[in-house]
Symmetry: C2
Subunit: 210 residues, 2 copies
């Protein structure tokens, strides 16, 4: 049995490999953070960064402040990459290729003395190299910043990376095209802000996206 | 004040426009579904489709079955599109352009008699035109399928679509490039499955992604 067949037969699989988890998180820009508010579930998108064995979450919305006001709140954090659409010969067998991590833990605000470090980690995670191109945060800005951390201790990682289930004797109409359409995120041309001079060179952090 | 300035001054805004909500949902392939299990939050990615004024959710994981086993379970469902990275001249003012919907409601399994319709809606939502290219579900397949529905009644939509906050007198170093790097999802070349003949033409549903 080839690796490909093996993948096809068991297309969805969990993995405990920390390298898979770390890469998946390192490629993420948004995480979906779930918590319980007055007995009801709430899910919010937040910016994400990884700092070793903890996940950092950054958001400035009202509900983000709800989270931040707690000394610790139980959360579930999901990070998902949709890598492709899986075309089968039956409607039922259509699927998606994806990598997902679902984390469970307690989110706590990063300590004041660690805030600048945490903000740098999130900024560099989202836009590598940007931190040194721009003005650092002032004490007032840091005071207005909240970053939450969740330890990467209880995580479920699932990966589907395979074609559609099929075999020569499956009774389907094999003249129908089956396969995968891979999906990925790309950057379009940068749009300068109104007061950015037209002769201002694109910095390295922007060029890295092109 | 121009629209652009207005957007820059109030870059994050809610909207009650159902057209914005519908378009945002119609472009989504994955939703993050949060619920409470034994008092703790859980967030899972699920495939998504919109059927008029209800959101349909489809997933086959174990926890999806947890959801499906309930006659009704309170959920929060988030759909987020990351449209761009916002580069400012200070670390603090970096941001992201996005469109997000956060829905609150009770998820219930679609009635057995409606399952085929619901599966068709989700399939056509994810891959327009595919339903008529492939074999329809058998009664056995439908019995093994669960689709959840959530009414689109309590939804919060937020959109940020603007450059970085800036003005001529903001004290920042204006020789630093600021602006937006737009992001979008693209499809790569389709990969045929092992038993798809090399002469099999790409169907219309696949070509639509290219």
């Amino acid at each position: 049995m080839s690796d490909r067949t093996r993948l096809t037969r068991k297309p969805e699989r969990g993995t405990d490999d920390p390298a898979v988890l770390h890469r998946l998180l390192d490629e993420a820009r948004i995480a979906h953070v779930g918590f319980v508010r007055e007995g009801s579930p709430v899910v919010l998108p937040m910016a994400v960064g990884r700092d070793g064995d903890r996940l950092l979450l950054h958001g400035s919305t009202g509900a983000g402040m709800f989270l931040a006001a707690r000394s610790g709140i139980e959360v579930s954090v999901a990070v998902t990459h949709l890598d492709g659409l899986v075309f089968a010969r039956s409607a039922f067998d259509h699927s998606m290729n994806y990598r997902s991590a679902v984390l469970f833990g307690v989110a706590t605000p990063v300590a004041p003395g660690e805030k600048e470090h945490a903000l740098k980690v999130v900024t560099e995670h989202l836009i590598p190299g940007r931190w040194d191109e721009v003005r650092s945060p002032t004490p007032k800005e840091l005071a207005a910043t909240t970053v939450l951390e969740v330890p990467l201790t209880e995580v479920s990682v699932k990966v589907r990376a395979a074609g559609p289930g099929e075999d020569a004797g499956d009774g389907e109409d094999h003249s129908v095209w089956a396969g995968v359409v891979p999906l990925r995120t790309v950057a379009d041309d940068p749009i300068p802000s109104p007061i950015t001079g037209s002769s201002t060179a694109l910095p390295r952090s922007v060029r890295a996206f092109l």
